[in-house]
Structures are given as structure tokens and as C-alpha cells.
């Protein structure tokens, strides 16, 4: 099994999930521990040995955070309209179709309502596996409507981010989703409805520079990569290697932009406690 010999750096999201022959085992990219899928799930997709946080999506976060069976999805089938009829090496419309087929999602975020220990919230969670969790019109509009839901039902908003930034195949309209979501959050704030932002690995670009940084409380998962510019771009700009731990959740907490780094196992309880203070 040659993939065992690969260095840690070569483990992309996909290889992380590469299964051992019987399909039920996963390898921790941090400490090489081999973990059974069931065990991983019961440990909330964190390594049993080193507590490395595996990258997960909306399906898993719904289980991590919301009470079982409480999630009611809204605007589920909203999908991209390809406003620019964009094409690079591949047509954007095909990219979207392929992503839908591969992920069984319609775009890079799912939104709805649910409960945390019985407390109702509006809840949105991004999926990095859908075109890098990029924000185009669908993500922006779904978040805007979710905020409206919070306003209408007077319930707190919780958003989980995981994204490479704006979706460039939608051009300037994707940039405008930063404006749209942030403006809607201003309205939510004016009405005194709480918003908790959870930043997971990775949260960069236009997402960090809009709603992800605008929580009444900003929470991040341990070691998550969080930043405005990507590490490669910064390295190119300054022409030097980046210091160890640069742009991690802990780094952001140290510099005053994250209220708290919270491990996945503590996430639900922390949210519940916070909501009791905020609501």
C-alpha cells in the first residue's frame, strides 16, 4: 500500500478519507493512528489518540451540534444559475452539476432550523467538499434568508464556516454576497438577536472577510486554518517562510479575533451555555 509512505503534506481531503480495504478504517493524518469509522464517528470525527479534527461537512455537524432529528432544512434545492455562463478549462455549469452528483448537495451550504438541548436556533453549515465551500449567489442568498428566519422567529443564528472564499466563477456577484450577508447581519444586530460564528478548517478569503468574522461571539475549532489571504499568497508576497502556527485558530485567538478555540466535543455545550447568556 504505497499511500502509507506518503508524507503528511500529500494528504488532501480526499486521501484523508481513503479507506483501508474493507472500507471501514481511516488513518489520522496527524499521528497515523488507524481508526474504525464507527469509533471516529462516536468521537465526533476527532482522532482518538491525538484529537486531530477531521474535516467534516454539514451532515456531520448537524449530528455534532443539533438535537437528533431536530434539523428542518429550508431552501434545500436552491442552485446556481451560472449568471456569467462562465467557462475556464471547464464550463462552470458542468462543475456545478458534477459537484451536485458527487456530493449529493445542491450548493456549498445547508440552512434550516434545529434545536440545541431544546433551544431553537437557525443554523447554517458550509460544505467544503462542494467547490471548495466557495460562496456564490446561492450561499449568499441562503444565508440572507436564514438571517430573515432568525429575525422573523426571533431565534439566535449559528453559522459554521468552511470555505476557500468567494466563488470566482460567478464574478462580481459572488463578491456582492459578502455585502449582502454582512448588511443582513447588521439588521440582525440592530434587533438584538444573537449570532454565533463558528470557524472551521479552512475559513479564508471572502468568508472570513464577511459573516465569519462578524459573530457576537467567534468560535474556532482547534488548529483550523483561518485567514484573509491564503498562506501561499502571503508567502509569495513577503518572500519568506511563514512562522509556525501562523493563521491557526490559536493564532487568531492570540491576536484577538477569535473569542474562544473550542474542541468539537465541547462545541454543543459551549453553544448552549453561550446562548443562555445571549438570549
Amino acid at each position: 500500500m504505497s499511500w502509507f509512505k506518503r508524507s503528511k503534506k500529500n494528504f488532501s481531503d480526499d486521501t484523508q478519507k481513503m479507506d483501508l480495504p474493507d472500507g471501514m478504517w481511516m488513518k489520522c493524518p496527524e499521528c497515523d493512528e488507524i481508526i474504525h469509522k464507527k469509533q471516529l464517528e462516536s468521537n465526533l470525527w476527532t482522532c482518538v489518540k491525538c484529537s486531530y479534527h477531521f474535516r467534516i461537512g454539514s451532515e456531520e455537524y448537524i449530528k455534532v451540534i443539533l438535537d437528533e432529528g431536530s434539523f428542518k432544512e429550508i431552501n434545500k434545492k436552491m442552485r446556481s444559475a451560472d449568471p456569467l455562463e462562465f467557462s475556464d478549462t471547464k464550463k462552470y455549469s458542468l462543475r456545478v452539476n458534477d459537484a451536485i452528483k458527487k456530493t449529493e448537495l445542491y450548493d456549498a451550504i445547508r440552512t434550516g432550523t434545529g434545536t440545541i438541548n431544546g433551544k431553537e436556533i437557525s443554523f447554517g453549515c458550509m460544505d467544503f467538499k462542494f467547490i471548495g465551500g466557495s460562496m456564490g449567489s446561492v450561499v449568499g442568498e441562503k444565508i440572507a434568508r436564514l438571517i430573515d428566519k432568525s429575525i422573523k422567529s426571533k431565534i439566535p443564528l449559528v453559522l459554521i464556516s468552511s470555505s476557500g472564499g468567494a466563488r470566482m466563477m460567478e464574478g462580481v456577484l459572488s463578491l456582492m454576497q459578502m455585502a449582502k450577508t454582512s448588511a443582513r447581519l447588521a439588521k440582525l444586530a440592530d434587533l438584538g438577536i444573537p449570532y454565533i460564528s463558528i470557524l472551521t478548517d479552512p475559513t479564508t478569503g471572502g468568508i472570513t472577510a464577511s459573516y465569519a468574522m462578524l459573530g457576537d461571539v467567534n468560535i474556532a475549532e482547534p488548529k483550523a486554518l483561518i485567514g484573509f489571504a491564503g498562506p501561499r499568497v502571503i508567502k509569495q508576497t513577503i518572500g519568506k517562510d511563514l512562522p509556525k502556527g501562523f493563521q491557526t485558530a490559536e493564532f487568531l485567538q492570540e491576536h484577538g479575533f477569535i473569542d474562544r478555540v473550542v474542541s468539537r466535543k465541547e462545541l454543543k455545550n459551549t453553544l448552549f451555555t453561550l446562548l443562555e447568556f445571549l438570549n
Partner: protein, 316 residues
């Protein structure tokens, strides 16, 4: 500074040179007729070249080193400009300038990205790429304007927010995000005008307003054509295609309902006649301010929210 001639402008300059030579010798020769023909030809050529620009050529014009920058416009359009410095927290970012000014009878706060014109001034201005304190200075000045009921004009001209180590440490993302939120609820009119380059979050960070205008030869998008090329085509060579695909010119953005109005420039670009460019923009800004000042502050904020709320395209 030596004149910068873009590739696609070369035929015009060649013809103009020829014309100049002919004029020099015209005293001794009877060539007035020929001169007239060449003059007409120059005009026709200018029309055909500048009216048929590709998207990439517009990007080149938007970056033209002789183009007027924010402070040039401020000095040409306004009186009593009083620059105010600093974010009250960290320092004074030179890539964003701002202060009070009078434009006709309107007392406004005017804020914009500022590029430099040579190596020294470009280093001083960080090539128009703000650090977080630039965005925070802009917000401080905007809140000052709000407190004293002054409308705000912002001028966008940046290749992007600075992607540096310290910018990250000081919260580039948070600074931009905060501006988006706060600008959306400022209770004074805001007119935004893209005067050069509008690159991504670095542009949008001072780009929320009631009216969004673009000068004729500017671009505004989520990413520069070069970076888009390098990410999607995995090569820097596809910038022309990327510019086409991104649909980033003023007419494109008007069609996508992201901007409200295109401000015409002198033929060949704002740098061909800076005074004229500034006077056209001044007239437009005054018109816009007069309209916006009639609207009650609460209504203005609601309309702003609705304006950005409509942007996007989706299927359901």
C-alpha cells in the same frame, strides 16, 4: 515621467507622430490637404480603437500609470480638502486617504484608495493596497461623517487588500468585514465610485453605498484577471480569457445590476484630459448627492439593504 503607450494605442501614436512631422515641414510645402486627411484618420482611428476595447484592454487602461488617482480627483473637484489621518488604534495607513471637503455647496467626507506614481511614492502608498488600519481609518472617518450628518463619497482604486503577514496579524479579514456591516447601516448618503481598479474584498471594504458608479475604463470583480488565470487555468498566460470570463467592465456590471451608473471619460481614458475627467465626475457626484439628500436616513438604510439583498442569480 515618460509617456506610457499601451500596445493597442500604438497605431494612434504612430499616426500622430507622422502628423507632427508633416506639420513641421508644412510651411515650405503645400500639404494642408494631406494634413487634414491624416487628422481625420487619427480621429477615426481613435474612435474605432477606444470604442471597441476588449475587457483586458479596459483593465490596462484602468491601471494606466498616468491616470488620475483619488487625491488628484479630490484636488480637482473639491475645495478646502482637510485630510484626516489615522485609525486611533494602530496608525495611519497611507494606502487609504480621507477627509472633509466641499464639492460645490456640499460638505462631504471623501475617502479613497491612494496609489503612488513612481517607485518612491508607490512604496509610500503600498501600491494602493491597504492594511487593516486603512479600513479602520476609513470607518472611523465615516462614523465621524455620520455623527455630523455629512454625506460620504468613497473612491475605489486598489489591486487588493495587502496580503501580508502583519495584515493577517492585525485582522485584515475582520477589518473588511466590519466595514461591510457598519457601512450598510450608516445613516448618511454614501456614493461609491470606482475610479481605477476594484479588486475584490479590498475594494468592497469601502464599497457599500446607496449609489455605485464606475468610470468608463475601470474594472471591478471578485479577483484580478491574472490571479483568476493562475488559479483556474493554472497559468498566468490566460489573463485575457479570464478578463472576458469574469465580465468585469462597467457595462458588464451595469448589466449585472451591481452598479447604478457609468461615468464617461474623455476619449482614450481619464488621463488624456484629467481636468475634463474630474469635471464630468464632479457633475455626476453633485447630481447623485442632491438626489440622496432628499431621502430620510432610515429610508436610505432600508433601501441600501434591499439594494444589496437583490444582488445575485440563483434557481429554485
Amino acid at each position: 515621467m515618460a509617456k506610457t503607450i499601451l500596445d493597442f494605442e500604438k497605431p494612434i501614436y504612430e499616426l500622430e507622430e507622422k502628423l507632427a512631422e508633416m506639420k513641421k515641414v508644412s510651411d515650405n510645402l503645400d500639404i494642408a490637404g494631406e494634413i487634414k486627411i491624416i487628422e481625420d484618420k487619427v480621429e477615426t482611428l481613435k474612435e474605432s480603437i477606444y470604442k471597441g476595447l476588449t475587457r483586458w484592454q479596459r483593465v490596462q487602461l484602468a491601471r494606466h500609470p498616468e491616470r488620475p488617482y483619488t487625491l488628484d480627483y479630490i484636488y480637482m473637484m473639491t475645495q478646502n480638502f482637510l485630510e484626516l489621518h489615522g485609525d486611533r488604534t494602530f496608525g495611519d495607513d497611507k494606502a487609504i486617504v480621507g477627509g472633509f471637503a466641499k464639492i460645490d455647496d456640499h460638505k462631504v467626507m471623501i475617502i479613497g484608495h491612494q496609489k503612488g506614481r513612481d517607485t518612491k511614492s508607490n512604496l509610500f502608498r503600498n501600491f494602493g493596497m491597504p492594511n487593516p488600519e486603512g479600513y479602520r481609518k476609513a470607518l472611523r472617518l465615516m462614523k465621524l461623517a455620520e455623527k455630523f450628518h455629512r454625506p460620504i463619497i468613497t473612491m475605489i482604486d486598489t489591486p487588493g487588500a495587502y496580503p501580508g503577514l502583519e495584515a493577517e496579524e492585525r485582522g485584515q479579514a475582520e477589518a473588511i468585514a466590519r466595514n461591510l456591516l457598519e457601512m450598510s447601516r450608516l445613516k448618511v448618503p454614501i456614493v461609491v465610485v470606482i475610479v481605477g481598479e476594484g479588486a475584490s474584498g479590498g475594494a468592497l471594504g469601502i464599497g457599500i453605498g446607496d449609489r455605485i458608479l464606475m468610470l468608463e475604463n475601470t474594472w471591478y470583480s471578485v479577483i484580478s484577471p491574472e490571479s483568476c488565470s493562475s488559479i483556474l487555468w493554472r497559468s498566468w498566460e490566460y489573463k485575457e480569457q479570464a478578463a472576458e470570463a469574469l465580465r468585469l467592465t462597467a457595462p458588464d456590471l451595469l448589466e449585472q445590476k451591481v452598479i447604478d451608473r457609468i461615468v464617461p471619460e474623455p476619449l482614450g481614458g481619464a488621463h488624456k484630459d484629467q481636468e475634463l475627467a474630474a469635471s464630468i465626475l464632479k457633475k455626476v457626484l453633485i447630481e447623485e448627492l442632491q438626489q440622496l439628500e432628499k431621502i430620510k436616513p432610515e429610508k436610505l438604510v432600508d433601501m441600501r439593504l434591499e439594494k444589496f439583498g437583490k444582488m445575485g442569480a440563483w434557481i429554485e
